[in-house]
Amino acid sequence: MLIQRILYWGLFFGLILEISPAVYGQVVQGRVMSLDAQGNMEDILGASVYFKPIKKGTLTDTKGAFSLDVQGKTGWMIFSATGFKNDSVFVDKNQFLHVHLQPSNKELTEVRVVATPGNMDNVSTLHTEILTMKTLAKAACCNLSESFETNASVSVSFADAVTGAKQIQLLGLSGTYVQTNMENIPSIRGLKTTYGLNYLPGTWIKSIDLAKGQSSVVNGYESITGGINVELAKPDTSEKYFLNVYGNSQGRFEINQQGAHRFNQKLSTGLFTHYSKQAARLDGNGDGFMDLPIFDLYNVLNRWKYSTDRWMLQWGASYLYENRLAGQNNFDAENSNRFLIYGFGSKTSRFETFAKIARLFPDKPYQGLGLILNSAQHQNDSYFAFKNYLGREQSVYANLIYQSIFDNTNHSWKAGASFLYDSYQERYIDSTFARTEIVPGAFFEYTWTVPNQLTMVVGNRVDWHNQLGLQWVPRWHLKWDAAEDLILRLSAGKGWRRVNPLAENMGFLANGRRLVLLGDLNPMEKAWNFGATLTKNFQIGTRKGSLVIDAFRTEFEKQWMVDMENGGELRMYSSPGVSFANSWQVEMNYSPWKRLEIKAAYRYQDVQADYLTVQGTLSRLPKAYLNKDRVLVNIAYATPYEKWKYDLTWQWNGSRRIPNGSLAHVHDGVSPSLTAPAFSTVYAQVTRQFKKWEMYVGAENLFNFTQSNPIMSAKDPFSRGFDATMVWGPIVGRMIYTGMRYKIQ
């Protein structure tokens, strides 16, 4: 022990002796280098080095080196360079600083040295949260629909108590108003809307950008409340081999394998495979119905990347097949009489190809030309007892984008044209619905930047829809860096979409209600969205935190209503009156100690719409199944080098209005509302990292809260009173899971 002490003290004095001349000079020296995903480094010339306490800065020389007189102060030193993400280092002793800046393209994984807790993007003009692999690993199970469990803005719930389809909700409105893109290709739309969130394996995801409010016109006209862009793992930066195995106490099993190969500096390929299975028929609430569908899901993606200084080509193909079965416990797809035993079946297959071609101009980094191509073939055959549904979709999408500047990079612009061909064939019971949509469009987006102060984006696009005619979409975004750590953002804009009445509401077919489609043969939705957000980054001592306040309002010019207010009927019609959604949220992220991060958020939503009464008058109601209040707390702790990681999330969902489901109920505008109670759910997870692999154990819905009767008239599924769509809370109870990830670099 004595020897140790001597060693320690010796080291301590050694340090003092060595650094003391520098302290005397009060000059901090260091070197700034770039660090890309492959681990390559180069000196950065002309990077800006800024020391906050004395408000002085310098630039790096040709070797990336700098020296700055800190005048004996301690505080944050900020490093920035064009094309790289900002980084900062706390300077409290006089050491030589090695700073590695990451390129600012979004193909990268984690912000390495010091990042603001909460993952708010401080650079984007749009109010954007970035969910990195680290965030996604906090809730290890299983696909895109579950990626938002630790997120305050997005809620995830089951669409109904039979099909197992998950839906997300943002700003008080359903996920159909969120444009979900995969690497900037519109992805979850058309017939894929039904189960689309379940179809993207979580381990394939590299990062998710979640933009609240209107998004850019470049990616289309369909976004109304927000945009989600999912970046998948790239073949040139992925591990050679990745394996993930997962299993849970409810009888679900999953295996994900990813392989990547680099042929040379330019060409690389990746092969991703997924298989998952729900094997056990689970009926925790004893209503005779499976709580979750049993299923087999196969999913495979092969992608290629070819990149040089001047060209970047990416292309690939994916295929998925799923067979789902639910309904009464004793239902058998082959042998049961579907008029006597309630069964639900769904077989989906989807084949997709994509190509992205980008022409780069190395001497003009602000200039670029990109072409995105995508084709998809989607097939679904389903039945709800004896009611059959069949859906076919073929779609082709192209988007051409050119970007350049006016005079200098403070005035940049993007312009382009898009084309969508979408052909649908649907049949439900004895009705056939067929349509072809052809939508050519053009857009122009101008970005005005006052460096470090103001960014304004003005976007316009015009699309011609063969059924809906000419549509104009204006969008406007403003970002003002009011102070160094205070960002104000404003947005306003319009979006519209063609409704897919059946595919988007597939879950609503799981009831005995009579489907009544009123009026409009080509239903569309059109809405304005306005938003204001404030981001304040703060420091208490050396610890960082952020406070985010946002408020949004969505106002529909036209909305497709799904009306369950009358017992025994499911009515769909174009909104006859007013429909709006107001939402505001306060979120705080703070890291009180090293490796401990706390997030606390409160969200309020006020969503109302006019519904038709049986007399034909309007009655304004708060949106059913939607809770006004929600609280989310997430605590994450890691031991040094993330050997152990702990994660705990608590969600509290306030009470909500539900329709009166009794068969005799008639919506006359004066009938009192029913309310479903508030409830909490808790998620917990522990991860242990080893040298080449890691293992996790976790629990969902730890307090085991479930809605006691998610299916009405479950004993009599062929009556008109049967209804599996009155779902407001968790259907399945506590679930324990475990899994492992193995990597070969």
């Binding site: 080291l11 040298k691 154990v697």
Partner: protein, 112 residues
């Protein structure tokens, strides 16, 4: 099931803190912050090591370990396996090749 979680939450990390401690000082071929992080991370995930701190000035690393679970030879092997020399143990060739350019020995001349 609850018990398993509790055990995972509480007991296992507890074990890592228990037991007798010894320290050793090893000379490495580390050059920069990245090297420091690589070595310290690998040691953090190695059996029986509770703490390590690499000083870039003299390139030595101070490792705190449990002599019942590991020994100095194993610690040196763990450092070599990341691509760095550890006293008399020479860096693993394959891992060295994979190091970022600034972490390779030749870079030392240009780095400072």
């Amino acid at each position: 099931m609850k018990k398993i979680i509790l055990a995972a939450l509480l007991a296992i990390p507890g074990l890592a803190w228990a037991g007798p401690k010894q320290t050793v000082k090893i000379k490495t071929s580390a050059i920069c912050e990245m090297c420091k992080e690589r070595i310290e991370k690998n040691l953090a995930l190695s059996k029986g090591i509770s703490k390590s701190d690499l000083d870039l000035k003299d390139k030595t690393i101070l490792v705190e370990y449990n002599p019942k679970k590991t020994d100095v030879a194993a610690i040196k092997r763990a450092i070599a396996e990341v691509g760095y020399d550890a006293d008399e143990v020479v860096a693993d060739g394959k891992s060295y090749e994979k190091l970022p350019s600034c972490c390779k020995k030749g870079a030392a001349a240009t780095a400072h």
